[in-house]
Symmetry: C2
Subunit: 304 residues, 2 copies
């Protein structure tokens, strides 16, 4: 799967992922005002997301769809989540379900079916939430990850395992150092590199990626060294404070190695000073193109 | 919330939680054979779960509903999840949403709304997935937990944080020892005890519980000592190999301190040698009553 993602990044010259963390207050007033209940919101989310996908699909390789923003609206939110994943797929984008799922093996197998595989009912199989990648949390260790690895292989899909997250308190556990000398995030990273060893593709990256926050450049540099075959999903650019110069370290000399997510900075671009006066679609497209340039500039300035 | 849970445990003399990890193959043949798609399965899950809730509600304090088994069926599964939570609430049971959610603060706030709080649409608020407790994963540290703590306080709800999970590879990270001398599960446990310090109720337990597997009695004993005010959600009894004697250490002299989950052992009781010939409802009820006795016996044999 990571070969396909990289090819889309090369084709668009853009390692940017648009985070469809669709919040009700982001919708234009004319979409919001008629919503009376969860069902209405679900439909409005689909319209909004489809309009963004349509506006951006030729300049981005992928979208990341954050499950929490949809689960807030119950089963209607789940229906909007499903439709968003499906429409993004139809538009030719790589689709990352950001759901950070985790559980014991038998239960992880259900999550894996839900996002990466298909579910069978009396001989007929369908995808429940059709995605190319799923984000997962590795706190439970290998046997909670193995079902995902099996489906990645069987269905040519991928996962991104939380290694060093972008939030301020991520160091509370992740940066603590074991008696053996390595930190928890390094231990997680080493295992992710190992889980991916069987699926390294033609660009040198595996289908088992890592979430590495743009807000922690020092840790990102250590991880890039430790995990040479692991593709990074890099959240934290923009609203969370991560800058292009901070995340350049995640990329190799070819400019490959990661995909940078931006959610609020693109969805709410029309509310920023910079894109004031533009409608949400034009502002989002301008923000995506500016972000592409910002990252390209940072990568070109590096000495490797 | 934990005061309410404990009162229900005292009333039923039963610290047993039934895990509605409803799998298609557990349903009776006459429910399964008419299912052609996810919608049919969702409806069958609701019928099956409601029949179990109805059969067991007078002898159990709580149900734990595992999200993965429903997400496998997409939005229809989400609808069945919603209906199951709602019907269990209506039946007077404490409802634990076992979804192991985790994310950065702003996103965790959405998950918290989805399960513990309510979501507002133009002035009207409704619960998305109405639950009393949510299981969460603390790998991201405090700022990913704080939104849940705020809703626990505001709405009188609770969470169970993964500390020492029941799966075989849980030790891979959780049992690793930091340079400071404590293990990761102990560090997580200490923080959980701290997060709960503001919500300790009349029985001495807080609304911030811990998931502690019945399959790891040694670690459970250490955690019980370390976390005197933390209520334990104890998975792993039965099918996963945990025994009543192993988990007795989680309970105080009054027989309080935890709730023991059993999923397959109750849902599939009619397929076991012991309850052969009974229908699934009678078998489930017999299994619950036997489990209650099994735990009571183990607790009475202890020396405290």
């Amino acid at each position: 799967m990571t070969d396909i993602l990289i090819e889309k990044i090369l084709k668009t010259s853009n390692p940017t992922c648009v985070g469809l963390d669709t919040a009700f207050e982001y919708l234009p007033e004319n979409m919001r005002k008629f919503c009376r209940n969860f069902s209405d919101v679900g439909k409005a989310f689909i319209d909004y997301n489809v309009s963004l996908i349509d506006k951006l699909k030729d300049v981005i390789p992928a979208v990341k769809v954050q499950a929490a923003y949809y689960e807030m609206y119950g089963p209607y939110g789940a229906a909007a989540y499903f439709a968003t994943l499906r429409e993004a797929k139809k538009a030719g984008l790589v689709v990352i379900a950001d759901a950070k799922r985790n559980d014991i093996g038998s239960t992880a197998a259900c999550y894996s079916k839900a996002y990466l595989g298909e579910t069978e009912v009396n001989g007929v199989s369908e995808p429940a939430f059709p995605s190319d990648y799923l984000t997962v949390n590795g706190y439970l260790g290998s046997d909670g990850i193995e079902p995902f690895l099996a489906d990645c292989k069987r269905c040519d899909k991928g996962i991104f395992v939380l290694v060093k997250t972008s939030n301020p308190s991520s160091g509370q556990f992740q940066n603590r150092r074991f008696a053996s000398g390595e930190t928890l995030y390094e231990a997680m990273g080493a295992l992710v590199e190992e889980w991916g060893s069987a699926s390294v593709g033609k660009y040198g990256y595996s289908d088992v990626g890592a979430v590495v926050g743009a807000t922690h450049p020092e840790e990102a540099a250590i991880l890039r060294e430790l995990m040479p075959h692991t593709f990074f999903l890099i959240p934290g650019y923009g609203a969370q404070g991560g800058k292009a110069d901070d995340l350049a370290v995640c990329f190799d000399a070819r400019g490959l190695g990661g995909i940078v997510n931006n959610s609020r900075g693109i969805l709410c671009a029309n509310k920023s000073e910079k894109y004031k006066g533009m409608n949400y679609l034009d502002a989002a497209r301008a923000a995506v193109l500016d972000m592409r340039e910002d990252i390209a500039l940072s990568l070109s300035r590096r000495k490797i």
